[in-house]
Amino acid sequence: MSLGGDVGLRVQDVTVELGGRRVLDEVRFELPAGTLTGLIGSNGAGKTTLMRVILGQLSPTRGAVLLPDVAGHRAVGYVPQKFLLDPDMPVRGRDLVALGLDGHRLGFPLPNRERRRRVAEILRAVGAEAVADERVGRLSGGEQQRILIAHALVSRPRLLLLDEPLANLDLRSAREVVDLLARVAREQRVAVLISAHEMNALLPAMDRVIYLADGRAACGTAEEVVRPDVLSRLYGHRVEVIRVGGRVLVIAGDSDDAEPSHPHHHDGAF
């Protein structure tokens, strides 16, 4: 079963148990095409695990993942959290992006003008044109990040997963990458899912948020999810949400104050 045109991904009640621990607990959400979604959670919350399930690298204990089905090219692009590019290898950013287009195909590639044009176009779109002819392993972390985004985008996927793409970027680069991804989402009708342990860099561009804590997820718009009642319930203890100058701070309250049966729980966003 696969998805129609306006849905980029559907995750149905996915539960994952690893080493006897429940890493994801009945996670369900849907990503509309053309939107940017933040997957927010602290270290060990299950962000990478969720992405691996979506990519089919890990089968869920229960539940299912539905992906768009596009004949002829890969429908899911992925930028991993950890990657290591050997500084000495004779591979340019341009070569790596071209392999995003046809790296799965057999046979020696013949010179192809259309292939070159597509690669150049996507390199321009991510702002990595100036560094595309250097050995990719010698680029800075942020430059490599852009090359990998281009590598994932060049095959025109319907769904793009990025695992902590902002972790190595300074504030300005992070902002540029987020703007770029928001533009890509809108212009190319891609569903973009970005994981991060800190949501502020994503706030201005993010259409929706999936908040992960202890394997459980709350989904909706930032207004619906990033609230003390919703997050307290997710974490299982009191959490405060403070908004200052367009930034959001989520602070764990004193756990002694935890009140699981608090009368004012909000149910809407789960």
Partner: protein, 274 residues
């Protein structure tokens, strides 16, 4: 030196250099120099076993090289594979020690296996070597893109596909080993399977150019070594080994990272700012 059996030596040497240089490109890209050493060293046991039971050396070499490839793939865990490789190597070398002690082989033929004897390559090896060359080059051209991606960005290729590609690569090394060992010997395969590609990598910045330069370097090494071995009657292994090391060191010194990297970086950032 172009008469008698010499033309055969030249032809076999040329094929060995082309295949070694090409497959060496991936050996270096994948950081698999140890595996590229273990497979030929392990195949030594196959050659010794073949003389023991009286079949073709090439057959024994090929069988044990393939065994070595499967052994390394099977014994290695994800990521680091040096322990698995060492284990496979030791198992095969142990067999080799047994076979050598059982057979009444003269020391000179053991020496030839270890250090090569291109000048003794005969008519009989011409056809199998040509067939192996064709298979290796065809497989390399077929797998070029998937193997390049899996080697340059292993994170992008995972699961069964990564395992299959890895095994395919090790089997290619095994095939290359089978045809290369009779020429340069098991211990000096570095000079054909690693040194040319490592030299090329320092000098060329794109996959296509590095591949071509690797093949050219391998040809230069094997041809010069064959000529020098003929003229001096010293073992070819000595020349192949020292020429390989010399090429690699020269390329390293010529492109020390501080110099090459520094100047390119400077010109790029000034262009970006203007």
């Amino acid at each position: 030196m172009f008469s008698g059996t010499m033309p055969d030596a030249w032809i076999v040497g040329t094929m060995v250099a082309v295949v070694g240089g090409a497959i060496g490109f991936f050996v270096v890209l994948r950081g698999a120099a140890f595996a590229a050493h273990a497979i030929p060293s392990g195949s030594f046991a196959g050659a010794a076993g073949a003389t023991l039971v009286g079949v073709s050396t090439l057959l024994g070499l090929g069988l044990f090289a393939v065994l070595g490839a499967f052994g390394i793939a099977g014994l290695s865990h994800r990521g680091r594979r040096d322990v698995g490789t060492a284990l496979a190597l030791v198992l095969l070398l142990g067999l080799g020690a047994l076979f050598v002690s059982l057979s009444a082989e003269p020391a000179s033929s053991i020496f030839a296996l270890l250090f090569g004897e291109v000048l003794a390559v005969g008519r009989g090896e011409l056809l199998p070597t040509a067939a192996l060359t064709a298979v290796c080059l065809a497989a390399l051209a077929t797998l070029w893109r998937p193997l390049l991606l899996a080697s340059a960005l292993p994170e992008a290729v995972v699961g069964a596909r990564a395992v299959t590609l890895d095994l395919a690569f090790l089997l290619l090394v095994a095939l290359a080993t089978t045809m290369t060992v009779p020429v340069v010997g098991t211990t000096l395969i570095f000079s054909v399977l690693v040194a040319p590609a490592a030299t090329a990598r320092s000098l060329a910045g794109t996959p296509g150019r590095a591949l071509s330069l690797s093949v050219i370097t391998a040809l230069a090494i094997v041809w010069s070594a064959t000529a020098l071995a003929y003229l001096t009657e010293w073992p070819i292994g000595f020349f192949v080994g020292s020429l390989g090391a010399a090429a690699f060191l020269a390329a390293r010194l010529g492109t020390s990272p501080a110099r090459a990297g520094g100047s390119r970086r400077g010109s790029r950032s000034s262009a970006a700012q203007s």
